[in-house]
Symmetry: C2
Subunit: 216 residues, 2 copies
């Protein structure tokens, strides 16, 4: 499958590398066509890896991963272009974290709104599926690193889009019953709001290799 | 131990009943001395159970459980009286949920503040320990109801107070390693902020008998 990965940071790098490893054709998108990080990622990841600006990547991908930082996501997707994103699935991994006032970051959008909803509103012709925003990227693509089972969540308005995203997540190693569909995109308020707890658990141990399991 | 339980709702009832079952002397506090719910709870729970207004209860207890609804907590504790609460541990189970705009509730305090911190600020001579606010009350006092282990959190400024609360939690059935100390009372922002995710998981299954386990 042709997939766009927006963002050249550690999350974008991890997701893009896993996708090429799985045999997908991946274009990493960034603000400029000559981004060094994107170019070197493409050079190191074989014939299925390429780089371009956000618009190139969105035009290329059948599915678009938003791996940009929350504060930059809206601008990146606008650069990608509404037409390029039309009818496509945007898998939104971002969190609206604001580190400008020190650590731990606060949320720039919260409680009565979410970044996932804002992206869906800005791109009504696309299908936003919020997922994987509740854990460290190393675990996103290697969930079996932990010995016990654990959970991720999905929020989105379109059932078919969520089903396609689930298939991709299973390729990452997630088991069907570990992926909990919370409902429409407004449920992204739940998972984004979990970040302040994630941050405190992380800060109490200085180790990001953890996740939550829903125990019943 | 003499313990005050503020609140006559299902949370207060569950906590107070468990405490008398464990042999503690418990006074259930409410707004008025003649509250029917508090009186009938006391009548049904043996010689160690009594009822009074918030001020009576706070004066009686060496430890005070705040089991009132978040929206009523500050007023209840003010009625309890700063002098009655002086030097005592306030175990704060409340969440700042606002249901006035429909379901699911939003948070009336969030992100850059928490109800736990507000209570600590209002009663600087007391030791506020936020805990048990992340799960259904049936599980608070019967954690072994679930087959797998699962976690609760603690936030508070005073190490000795947290240690005493931990002892009480162990009497409820919690195991030492299941109780995660997140740090000072500002970390209550983390656990209160988890509520929107709790609510979505609850709404997707209509079953409150679940909790999260930190998997490493």
């Amino acid at each position: 499958m042709k997939i766009a990965v927006m963002g050249t940071g550690v999350v974008g790098n991890t997701i893009a590398s896993k996708l090429t490893e799985l045999g997908h054709q991946v274009m990493m998108g960034s603000r400029t066509k000559d981004n060094e990080k994107a170019k070197s990622w493409a050079a190191e990841n074989g014939k299925n890896a390429s780089a371009g600006d956000y618009s190139d990547a969105a035009g290329f991908g059948e599915i678009v991963f938003n791996c940009t930082k929350g504060e930059a996501s809206m601008e990146a997707l606008k650069q990608a272009g509404e037409k390029n994103l039309e009818s496509k699935i945007i898998i939104d991994l971002s969190n609206p974290l604001d580190s400008s006032k020190g650590m731990p970051p606060t949320l720039s959008i919260s409680n009565t709104n979410s970044l996932g909803e804002e992206i869906q509103k800005a791109f009504p012709g696309s299908h936003v599926v919020k997922t994987l925003n509740t854990l460290w990227c190393g675990l996103m693509v290697n969930p079996r690193m932990l010995k016990d089972s654990h959970n991720i969540f999905m929020s989105g308005n379109n059932a078919e889009a969520k089903s396609k995203v689930k298939s991709l997540l299973k390729q990452f190693g997630w088991q069907d019953e570990e992926i909990l569909d919370l409902g429409d995109i407004s449920t992204a308020r739940g998972t984004e709001s979990y970040l302040p707890l994630w941050l405190r658990v992380y800060m109490s141990t200085n180790n990001g290799a953890f996740n939550i399991k829903i125990v019943r």
